[in-house]
Symmetry: C2
DNA sequence: AAATAAAATTGATTTAGATCAATGGCATTT
DNA sequence: AAATGCCATTGATCTAAATCAATTTTATTT
């Protein structure tokens, strides 16, 4: 149940077996079924979730009821509404499982304690944030610069997992396109080959 | 010369006067004039820059030669190409002063040393990253969700400084709009009042 | 396996914002 | 203070992607 977490931490910092055993005690394991929500818009996001197995997504809903996907998260990634999680504000996001998933949950208090108990865990969190920030900035750049087709092509290169495992209409939402436009873009690409 | 830095760190963590004196020694002060660059596209970004005074921007240039502004940074903020700074890759960004500015530069090596010498500095960096990540995610959401007018209105509310101090065509670039569209959006808003 | 619902595709039409083009208004520079 | 170049505005036209609508395909549920 903690394999992915051990791997993720191990890729960033060094942790002894005893330290990792301590680390584990701060997490709450949770299974969640497809289409179930971990966080509902309007609620306070009480957990930072690490994904051992499965896929989740976070999304906002606009005035017309359209969903806009903010993030996908796979095995070995984290997902939360950071703003709500840290500041205790009501969330504007919903977090939902795309597949049956296994999570390791960390409350804000547990996270603080864990960072104090194991300073390398704070370093691990910082390194994760750095990568997440870089990835998000690339996404902003793509949103400012790219055409519909370029956005999709970049995604297939940067995140083939997303394209392989996530329904197409969700990919469209993530890219800021309608499902119809993404369908046509894909057709254009295959016709050209 | 270090007032803004003291303030920024002090808002996030506690640091004694002696610790702050030590902290200062890791930075390289630098003045930069309007339109001068701190980083040129294609070079490695060797500094993380803290802004004591002035405004900088980072931007990419697309195939047609259009600039797309990734970030503005004012007094008390940081700017760098994090990807290039951390990984040593050639940057796709240019970082340029919008006004005559005073900077405090941190190399990647100095940053590592400083975090090891003063663990609270690592905490400070993490807290900054958390805020930056939240702000960037809000920007992604706005890019996915909002019309031209909504994007501009949100910006005036969230960052009145940007609207007050940055030329309009740069604001357009930051929002992913043409200068013409932003001009028309602004006209609509004033006509309606 | 049939029934139902959800997702993807395809076509026709619309539209928000881009592009092209010209003019007037500010700032720097000399 | 004149001159030069950049910036913002306004108008006319174009276009990429959205919207509306219908059909086919693929998943779920019973």
């Amino acid at each position: 149940m903690y394999e992915q977490l051990a791997k993720s931490i191990g890729e960033k910092v060094a942790l002894t077996a005893a330290e990792f055993d301590l680390c584990k005690t701060f997490f709450i394991p949770k299974k969640i079924r497809k289409k179930q929500t971990l966080l509902l818009e309007g609620d306070v996001c009480t957990y930072n979730a690490f994904i051992e197995k499965g896929i989740l997504r976070s999304y906002t809903t606009d005035a017309k009821g359209n969903e806009h996907i903010i993030q996908f998260a796979f095995e070995g990634w984290w997902i939360t509404d950071l703003s709500s999680f840290l500041m205790g504000e009501n969330s504007t996001y919903t977090i939902e499982a795309i597949e049956d998933s296994e999570l390791l949950l960390l409350t804000a208090a547990a996270r603080e304690e864990l960072m104090n108990a194991l300073p390398v865990f704070e370093r691990y969190q910082r390194l994760l944030l750095e990568n997440a920030y870089i990835a998000l900035q690339a996404r902003v750049n793509s949103a400012l610069t790219a055409t519909a087709e370029e956005k999709y092509t970049k995604l297939t290169i940067a995140y083939p997992d997303i394209v392989a495992r996530v329904p197409q209409h969700m990919i469209a939402s993530y890219l800021g396109l309608t499902p119809e436009t993404l369908s046509r873009v894909r057709k254009q690409i295959t016709l050209r080959k």
